[in-house]
Symmetry: C2
Subunit: 489 residues, 2 copies
């Protein structure tokens, strides 16, 4: 039997890391804070990426690629932006190494750059420096560009996928002729992110606006999708920013409008990252490992042949052929595990990897023209006739996709509390945890005081808020907003 | 009419840059040596990437992602490798910026890293440091991993796509149990690269082995595909390396073989980059701009409606609908240009962008149930009946794909010279240029002397060499190899 993982109930953080490593999603890189995304984890990311990329293309966005290196001075252009990002940057100062006489490799001091360059923590500044060249007239707008890229924010406390020095993401950067169009775009993208989370990752999300203190450095408004993880903490799963004219002003990007007047361009930016892989682990995983939503699972069905005699192996091979080729034609992602390990070992391994369906086929199943089918989401075991499988497997995969979403939704509902007093608020956070929905007076002071007292932050002002008649859970003043508080990743 | 480009005959290098910029493939980034890949250029790269990625998957390779940052000490592990790559690296020395009292942004001296990290110029070292963890037994082999990534080699003389500080590429890194398997893999990959170049980019290539002085730093053998550009220079379009046990030795990566003996692992690495986009420009482009092979063209057919009256516009829209939806269903990539510009301007623009087929449709064509079709490769103009187009357009696209390849092949054959004397050799290089096929005595001295005298290098020892009876073109000694010499990018 393969090694298990630390149970969630014992230590959720260790459970998480165990699963990520044991399932073969990722490993630690040699430079502190860096991560290697292993083939299985990368296949998951690629499926997720493909789904989002298609939605972005279908809504008129195009991909491009901007440089990794940003001149230091660019970061300083937008006042809030520099505050938010300057602290944790990788700085390139030299461009050459040389060998010393005793054979060591040292930085060549003569290769020092006149102006240091920063490894992009996000690309607003470099992209808006280019948009200045590309945008002249309203005819050049809107500009709807996305890029898939690596970014770097120096981190010392690594958590695989959740917090790493380098991570992969997509970042959209759009330019518009009117404030209204930019606002529409920021909201349209948030809805695409919601679809990605809910329809593909099977993770229900709350959509809403970030408070001033939690918004993106340089944005007018930040919208976010917030998800509940298995330990009842929140995870910000994607953000979309209406940047107003802030970056256009910083980089002097103007356009001639239809009335021949020079005006500053309106902007949005938005992104989701490999952090979503961590969200999938934490939203669905259990003590046996991952449970992957079929739509993004690298392998949807794993087939475990069970036999002792070589002649049985041959029979099983022949028996499986029409099924697997038929399912592959339907686009089902199948893997047959013919390795030497024991069936029990294989069951554990593929459960750890979260494959939605397992098919077990032995000589008796061949005789009876059947197969044993086991669902990873519920553990349910079905014995199905071989000729029903071509229809049943896609149906079961759909069912698991919906089931995982429903389970996560019920879990979130169960752990979301409408609260009116700060005592209740505290009790929940010190006890079971979860999302707290309550009134907030809208002040920075209250937000900070609550964070100090409980470590909970405002995850968002949900779009469906209803502050009418509510009082602030902390100050007792009339609520300006109804908000979601939670401890967050 | 849109601005033209510098003619090839006047200045090939300027023609190249003009076309890359004017066709909207790329632009210069703000940090010297960097490049922005614009949406049209990126779409070309994505099509190319997709084609290659499919071939790599079909041959059993999987994608993964390794960190951008490499500890400085790793580079020094493999003696030849450090020679080849240490010179031109981006070195990260600090991890934080801070604001000074007068509001400037400076590097925080206290954030200095104990060991500097290098931005990967290539990933052999970091990948083999991980393989050491992952490989224990022959059961873990072969390991066939590829990554799509950005890499950095500091360059001051930029040429868009051909030579930039940062570029995009794929790099495959495989581990094998036997020398023979590694050799097979390196050769199999080279053949995939040949297919990519010939079948997708429509660029004929010569496959062969690099000479010792031109091989990859750390490889036992380097194989390459070499292509002829429109100025008769060579471009190395892809390389595949048999690394022997060099990196396994440097990183102490051993495995237990089937006889329970500890052995060093055998390795290959291989890559193609965004340089291929430059190859497409130079292999097929003419004084009107790009000519794109249909299989990788972002837009295969551009439709230019020609009308004056609004009612004609409506008629054309209705007329085109069944055609475009039918072609899109067949997977043809179509763009309709309804912008305000004049037809003449549009013709030039889309010729510049190299779209393989142009359809012109005016009121008269609607009346006659026809369309005017113009081929970008030959300029040929056809008047075709509307109901033949659904079949004719895919046929014409295939024809253009084959035609571009044939044209490039004839051009290369015409400019490849079998040469026996150094006088001939010199005359060709000082005159028309091209590939020179001749005998070489196999010595470094001869290779260096020829390079000094003519700037030509050995592009490869072609797999189909036949050195028997040949003398060295320079020394007159018996030829060890028949080789291809050329001036190269």
């Amino acid at each position: 039997m393969s090694k298990g993982v630390t149970p969630q109930s014992k230590d959720y953080a260790t459970w998480y890391t165990d699963v990520v490593i044991r399932a073969g999603l990722a490993d630690y890189g040699p430079v502190k804070g860096t991560m290697v995304i292993k083939p299985y984890g990368f296949a998951l990311w690629e499926n997720l990426k493909q789904s989002l990329d298609t939605m972005l293309r279908d809504s008129g966005h195009v991909n491009a690629y901007f440089p990794l290196f940003i001149p230091k001075s660019f970061l300083a252009r937008e006042a809030e932006h520099v505050e938010g990002f300057a602290k944790e940057c990788a700085v390139v100062t030299h461009t050459r190494l040389m060998a010393t006489d005793d054979g060591k490799l040292v930085v060549d001091p003569e290769s020092r750059l006149e102006e240091e360059v920063i490894v992009r923590p996000t690309s607003e500044t470099i992209i808006w420096s280019m948009y200045k060249k590309w945008i002249q007239s309203y005819r050049d707008l809107p500009l709807l560009i996305n890029q898939w890229a690596n970014v770097v924010r120096w981190e010392m406390r690594t958590r695989l996928f959740l917090r790493t020095t380098e991570f992969l993401w997509q970042e959209g950067h759009t330019a518009h002729a009117t404030a209204n169009e930019a606002e529409q775009e920021a909201r349209r993208i948030l809805d695409i992110y919601r679809q990605l989370a809910e329809d593909y990752l099977a993770i229900p999300v709350i959509t809403g606006t970030k408070s001033e203190s939690e918004k993106f450095a340089g944005a007018d408004h930040t919208y976010a999708i917030e998800a509940m993880m298995g330990d009842r903490r929140a995870l910000q799963a994607g953000t979309s920013h209406n940047l107003g004219q802030n970056f256009a002003r910083a980089f002097q990007v103007t356009f001639q409008n239809e009335n021949n007047k020079e005006e500053l361009v309106y902007a949005t930016s938005w992104g989701v990252s490999t952090r979503l892989v961590g969200a999938v682990v934490m939203a669905h995983g259990d003590d046996k490992g991952l449970r992957l939503p079929p739509r993004i699972a690298p392998i949807q069905v794993v087939i475990i042949p069970i036999y002792r005699q070589p002649e049985d192996k041959e029979r099983i091979i022949d028996y499986l052929k029409p099924l697997t080729s038929g399912l592959k034609k339907q686009g089902v992602r199948i893997h047959e595990d013919w390795s030497d390990a024991s069936p029990g070992y294989k069951f554990n391994e593929w459960e750890m990897k979260g494959v939605p369906l397992r098919l077990e086929v032995g000589p008796r199943d061949v005789n009876r023209e059947q197969a044993v089918v086991v669902r990873r989401d519920t553990g349910e075991k079905l014995v199905l006739s071989m000729n029903s499988l071509m229809e049943e497997i896609p149906r079961l995969l759909d069912d698991i996709q919906t089931g995982l979403f429903q389970q996560a939704l019920e879990f979130r509902n169960q752990h979301t509390h409408q609260v009116t007093t700060f005592e209740e608020f505290r009790n929940i956070l010190e006890g079971p945890g979860g999302f707290i929905r309550c009134g907030w007076d809208g002040t920075l002071e209250t937000e900070a005081a609550i964070k100090d007292a409980t470590k909970a932050t405002i995850r968002c002002i949900p779009f469906d808020e209803n502050p009418e008649g509510l009082s602030c859970v902390f100050s007792g003043k009339p609520a300006r907003h109804e908000v979601i508080f939670a401890k967050a990743y």
